[in-house]
């Protein structure tokens, strides 16, 4: 979906709060900008930003200056979560190494944090921003361009990314520029469910998915994981641990697959020592 002429998502979306109101307005039948402005009370500029942002997120189409929504591809019972998951899934379609889609930056920034095991980020931190960008440029060969030049991750884009990642449920903001790396556990839970539907199986009437299969599915469809990941990165382990505690899943040893390392996950009675699979609690 990431056409070369499409705008760069981190330029387009500065205030993600207008995304969902614009999406809902179009969904109510307001198909042109003026109608959306009247309906939402948002400024013309805000509507334009929201509409373009939704297009980058794959949630809106534009034909002959008329907008049409793309339906959510998730149905979790929570509309905001459906929005987040659908947007994350659409953005993941840019994750096509080595010919990365233009919007891959959204996921790759997060991947860098997972890779480096950062549990906190300051969107004004120049060092981290530059390392992030260098890693994407030099190691992943990610080259989003504008008029032939590579778009670098500048301070504004980094701030825009922080706001969008928070809006889509991947970060927790606790100060103007400070965030913890905290994927909403419910997003992770629904990803496990979806992954099970796609590549899981049933063992003794239990819904089971091998951790390695889950990670691969997740990396392809929702949250891109570093290639060199041996096991479950700590940030994701943390979310899975939350689901363990809430008794939404178990981690069990099923079948012959080797044990999976869950980075920095404490022991728990619902996690077997040599766990290699996720069992969804009925």
């Amino acid at each position: 979906m990431a056409a070369a002429d499409q705008g760069y998502i981190l330029n387009t979306i500065q205030n993600p709060r207008s995304l969902k109101p614009v999406y809902e307005s179009v969904n109510r039948g307001n198909t042109i900008g003026d109608e959306i402005v009247d309906d939402t009370g948002l400024s013309v500029a805000a509507v334009d930003e929201g509409a373009k942002g939704l297009q980058r997120l794959g949630l809106l189409e534009s034909n002959d200056e008329e907008y049409a929504i793309r339906e959510y591809t998730w149905s979790t019972g929570d509309e905001m979560r459906d929005f987040q998951l659908t947007a994350l899934e659409h953005l993941a379609s840019s994750l096509t190494p080595a010919d990365w889609g233009k919007q891959a930056v959204f996921h790759l920034n997060y991947t860098y944090l997972l890779k480096e095991d950062h549990h906190r980020i300051n969107d004004n931190d120049e060092a981290v921003r530059k390392q992030m960008d260098r890693w994407q440029r030099d190691e992943l060969d990610y080259y989003p361009t504008y008029r032939g030049d590579r778009i670098d991750l500048n301070p504004n884009k980094m701030e825009n990314w922080g706001r969008l990642a928070t809006y889509l449920g991947l970060l927790h903001q606790y100060d103007t520029h400070e965030f913890t790396v905290y994927p909403d556990p419910e997003i992770i839970y629904h990803s496990v469910e979806r992954a099970h539907g796609a590549v899981g199986r049933t063992v003794d009437s239990n819904d089971v998915i091998e951790v390695s299969a889950y990670l691969e599915w997740l990396s392809t469809n929702l949250i891109y994981l570093p290639d060199d990941t041996a096991g479950v990165p700590a940030v994701l382990s943390r979310a899975l641990f939350h689901l363990l505690k809430e008794e939404q899943i178990r981690l069990a040893e099923i079948g012959d697959q080797g044990a999976i390392t869950f980075d920095r996950m404490p022991s728990h009675r619902r996690r077997e020592q040599s766990a290699n699979s996720i069992v969804l609690t009925p």
Binding site: D39, T40, Q131, T180
Partner: protein
């Protein structure tokens, strides 16, 4: 797929000796009750360590001891006291705290008396009740030694049967007899017939319940407790005051009932029975003194006093030896002046301590050695040279064909101790709280540790849960906890710390035995810089500096996430460095780090209260940060003002439930390496604020704590925001957002009553960013029209306008200047602000005043003020029946063209017009078209747009009030055309007048 621990198979238990054992064997071996081990004499004597104890009182034939003096004696010294040539009764009383070897000594003495001195021994253990002694133990003892039946036993049997089958009859007789006996003893009793029935029912129930069902005969068959006596007036039969009795009156009554029961069946008391048996031994064997052993003396009350009297009586024909063991409380009855002279008193533990003479830091290993060695002794693998019975053990070589000889895993330093080594056992003993350093506690920890390893609950002994309660400050490097936690545990318990700053060395055999070394693991591949040698595994100690720390290039661009920052910070506080260059904070960190593992297991344990305080500081500080000082939503100024003395959490293991403003925090959600980091942060935060690096700690545990921060917010919001019953009475279909929106709608109306309440006008007002205030004109009107108190309520409500604005921004804004219009429209279609606010609670006492913006802006006050404001307006609404000002204004001013009027007024100045009329026209002319239009629009809003709902009626009233006081209206009213017609509009009159003059020109 089970999450339960997998039981170990024989292969998992490396030592072949364990293959032959089952859990029952281990339980017998480590039984906390010496008598259980005594059932297997071979086991008992293999594991028995001769006991040393204190003689506390000399007794009539013993050594002279001054009061308070103590003499150390050996087990053999005590044994020698049991001379066969004594006459009269003799008693050895062994006192001591629980688990200090009393039973062990009893068993050892009993064994020797029985087997070496050929004494008849009557064992009375803790579970033997009085009735059992009377009906079973003593008759059996008698039968065994004399081949005859003791004829009292059948009488006891009859008593027991009758109690079972006809308790009321038994009770009836006992009650009447007892009350008579008590009277004969000189006590005055008064009993009504009905009262006697109640007593009878009571006693029947008690003898059934306390004698037959529970067989608690040994408890001075307590048929009437003090509490029962005090609570049941029918039992209070005595005329005398309570102080007329030696003990409590209940005791007298209870003893009377019991004695009556015994008399009823002609059953002799315990002492009579012992006397009878003793006489039989005298008759039959002359010098064979029987021995009665009370291993855990638990006889109390009257029976205990009778027994004591028998033991101490000065009767040359008596021939019983007694061994009585118990805690000082249970043997208190024996400490009577005459008895103290007759008996020998010993104590196993040191004064005011659970420590004993035969177990200390130096002897702990030897003490435990035979217990563990016993598992391996059957085939000659473990044999000891026990020296001269001093308790020292020397491990001999295994027999040539034994398992140990062929296995070869263990070094001789720990072969008998496997799966422990000496350091492990020493660390257990020294790590026990001083009050728990008793033989029993040591054995319990060792046994439970072995058992967890044996049954697979623990991967190896070093990870067993009983150790969580044992303080051990040996700590591996954080990387080891982070990457290979089990290695840290093994290092902690088995490790040699001679080179602690570099590494902790552990015999490689343990890792192999516990299968901790990955298969085909190359040395370089071990995590956390753990080094593997032929003999040992070297695990980095807490002070270890990883090679990369030396190699890092300082010129390399830093990402701000390495540890340098904190190290630099720690150097900053070096002004109070000691001689070693270690700062005070670093010293505290070093000291406290050793307690983390124990705190982790027992955060409530008072032994680690300091560690806990630092960790609480860390948790609280970080949750505070992640909730933005306990704000209820991100970037919202509404917060919960948590008390400074409270934490926002309680631990999972807390006995009390968390408060509404507390969540449950489980330290086990964190790895121990994380806890160590948190501890350091807490210490730095507490002791040297500048060196506490919050960003660094959040980079490590930010995700963990975010979960807690969000959980905290969710809990507080659920309690104080999302529960409608906090805000509303009578359960209306409204929530918090309805309250906020309704209040905001009124703020907009009171700010300008001529505004219609629509989504657009609310949004526009919100976007304007202007300050809110009660409309000045309206305020003047309200002063005239409303009671002063009502006006005050409205003013007070408007004082919270900014807070409501902030909440509207939080709950409804989609940008800094735009509200969610579609949602507002939906809301206004289905809600009336007046109805929402009128259903608020007048006094929302469930809404904690800690929920607030600041000290002057509490949410509870916002609710109260909104309710009062609404009530004030509601009460005023029916005071206004028509809208005459609006009507007049609309009639007179609608369509007025102020430009035209201006032109005409200018012309009028040239004529001799009534000056009063002219001045009023001139005044009116000073208003702009917009101002006049606004007045007209307000009138239209009042008369045409707004409907008949209460909300609209109040709004119309406010419009009318403002019109009444508005300057345009007043200016217009000041114009007097003297037409006498009040119904026609202003414009025609003015036109007529002006036309006359203008045309006349």
């Amino acid at each position: 797929m089970s999450s339960e621990p997998t039981p170990k198979t024989s292969d998992d238990l490396f030592c072949p000796h364990f293959h032959e054992k089952n859990e029952s064997d281990l339980r017998s071996l480590f039984s906390r009750v010496a008598a259980v081990r005594a059932e297997n004499p071979e086991l008992f004597w293999f594991t028995h360590r001769p006991i040393e104890l204190f003689q506390t009182e000399g007794g009539v034939d013993g050594p002279s001891l001054e009061s308070g003096d103590e003499r150390v004696v050996t087990e053999d010294d005590v044994y020698q006291e049991f001379s066969a040539s004594r006459n009269k009764n003799f008693a050895v009383v062994i006192e001591g705290e629980v688990g200090t070897g009393k039973s062990e000594l009893c068993v050892a003495l009993t064994h020797k008396l029985e087997n070496e001195a050929n004494r008849p021994v009557l064992r009375v253990d803790k579970n033997t009740d009085l009735m059992s002694m009377l009906t079973e133990e003593i008759p059996d003892f008698y039968q065994t030694h004399f081949g005859e039946t003791l004829d009292t036993s059948s009488r006891f049997k009859r008593l027991e049967d009758d109690i079972k089958e006809r308790p009321r009859m038994v009770a009836s007789h006992a009650v009447s007899t007892a009350l008579l006996e008590i009277g004969w003893d000189g006590y005055e009793t008064t009993i009504e017939p009905a009262q006697e029935d109640e007593i009878l029912d009571f006693v029947a129930e008690r003898i059934r319940e306390r004698l037959v069902e529970t067989r608690q005969y040994g408890e001075e068959p307590n048929l009437v407790t003090k509490q029962e006596y005090d609570q049941n007036s029918f039992l209070q039969v005595f005329e005398e005051d309570a102080d007329a009795f030696e003990g409590h009156p209940a005791e007298k009554l209870s003893s009377g009932f019991w004695q009556a029961l015994l008399d009823q069946y002609d059953t002799p008391p315990l002492t009579d029975l012992l006397e009878e048996v003793g006489e039989k031994f005298n008759e039959e064997y002359d010098d064979k003194r029987p021995v009665a052993v009370f291993e855990d003396f638990s006889i109390t009350g009257m029976q205990a006093r009778q027994l004591r009297n028998f033991m101490e009586r000065d009767n040359p024909g008596d021939n019983w030896d007694f061994i009585v063991a118990g805690t000082r409380d249970s043997t208190a009855v024996l400490h009577k002046r005459t008895a103290e002279d007759r008996f020998r008193f010993y104590r196993t533990n040191k004064q005011n301590s659970n420590q004993v003479l035969f177990l200390d830091d130096g002897s702990a290993v030897d003490f435990i050695r035979p217990y563990l060695g016993y598992i391996k002794h059957h085939d000659g693998s473990v044999r000891y040279d026990r020296g001269n019975d001093t308790g020292e053990f020397t491990l001999l070589d295994p027999e040539s064909d034994s398992l140990c000889a062929t296995c070869g895993l263990c070094d001789d330093s720990f072969r008998d101790l496997f799966p422990f080594n000496q350091r492990f056992v020493e660390r257990i003993y020294t790590g026990l709280d001083e009050s728990e350093q008793s033989p029993r506690e040591l054995i319990i920890v060792v046994f439970e540790t072995v058992l967890e390893y044996f049954n697979g609950t623990a991967r190896c002994p070093a990870t067993a849960s009983p150790l969580e309660h044992v303080t051990n400050r040996v700590v591996a490097h954080d990387d080891v906890y982070h990457e290979a936690e089990v290695f840290a545990d093994v290092a902690k318990w088995y490790g040699d710390t001679d080179r602690y700053e570099e590494y902790i060395a552990v015999d490689r055999a343990f890792f192999e035995a516990f299968d901790l070394l990955p298969e085909h693991q190359e040395e370089d591949d071990l995590p956390a810089n753990i080094e593997l040698t032929d003999d040992h595994v070297k695990i980095p100690g807490v002070g270890y500096k990883p090679p990369e720390d030396y190699e890092s290039d300082p010129s390399e661009e830093t990402d701000g996430y390495d540890e340098d920052e904190s190290e630099e910070a720690s150097e900053d506080d070096g002004e109070d460095d000691d001689d070693d260059g270690v700062s005070r904070v670093e010293r505290i960190i070093n000291e406290q780090s050793g307690y983390v593992d124990n705190w982790y297991a027992n955060p409530h344990d008072e032994s680690y209260v300091e560690t806990d305080a630092y960790l609480r500081t860390a948790f609280t500080d970080l949750i505070n940060t992640l909730t933005q000082d306990y704000s209820l939503w991100t970037d919202c100024d509404l917060r919960y003002n948590l008390s400074r003395s409270d934490d926002p959490f309680v631990y999972a293991s807390a006995e009390s439930a968390p408060n509404p403003d507390q969540i449950i925090l489980d330290p086990r959600d964190f790895q121990r390496s994380d806890i160590r980091e948190l501890l350091q942060y807490g210490i730095r935060r507490e002791e040297a604020d500048a060196s506490a690096d919050q960003q660094r700690i959040l980079d490590i545990v930010g995700g963990h704590l975010t979960a807690y921060a969000r959980q905290w917010r969710t809990k507080v919001r659920q309690r104080y925001i999302e529960d409608p019953s906090v805000y509303y009475k009578y359960d209306p279909p409204y929530g918090f957002d309805d309250f906020i929106l309704a209040a905001y709608a009124w703020i907009v109306v009171l700010d300008d009553p001529w505004q219609e309440v629509t989504a657009t006008t609310l949004n526009k007002r919100f976007a304007s960013g202007e300050e809110y205030a009660l409309d000045a004109t309206l305020k003047t009107a309200l002063t005239d029209e409303l009671a002063p108190e009502a006006e005050d309520h409205i003013e007070a409500f408007m004082g919270y306008a900014d807070a409501f604005d902030a909440l509207v921004a939080e709950r409804l804004a989609v940008s800094d200047s735009t509200l969610n219009l579609p949602r507002l429209r939906r809301w206004l279609n289905h809600h009336e602000p007046q109805d929402v606010l009128s259903r608020l609670r007048a006094d929302p006492d469930q809404l904690n005043s800690r929920v607030r913006f600041d000290t002057d802006t509490k949410l509870v006050d916002m609710v109260t003020k909104a309710f009062r404001m609404q009530k004030s307006l509601d009460q005023q609404e029916d005071q206004l029946h028509d809208y005459t000002v609006a009507q007049t204004t609309l009639n007179e001013l609608a369509g007025t063209d102020m430009e035209w009027i201006h032109d005409k007024v200018e012309v009028l100045d040239n004529y001799d017009v009534d000056r009063s009329l002219y001045e009023s026209l001139l005044q009116f002319d000073s208003y702009s078209q917009d101002e006049v239009d606004a007045v007209v629009a307000a009138s239209q809003l009042c008369l045409d747009t707004l409907g008949a709902s209460t909300q609209d009626l109040i709004h119309k009233m406010l419009i009318e009030y403002k019109l009444m006081e508005h300057e345009v209206t007043e200016a217009f009213n000041a114009i007097d055309f003297e037409t006498g017609d009040t119904t026609s509009s202003f414009a025609p009159h003015f036109q007529e007048v002006s036309q006359y003059y203008v045309e006349g020109e």
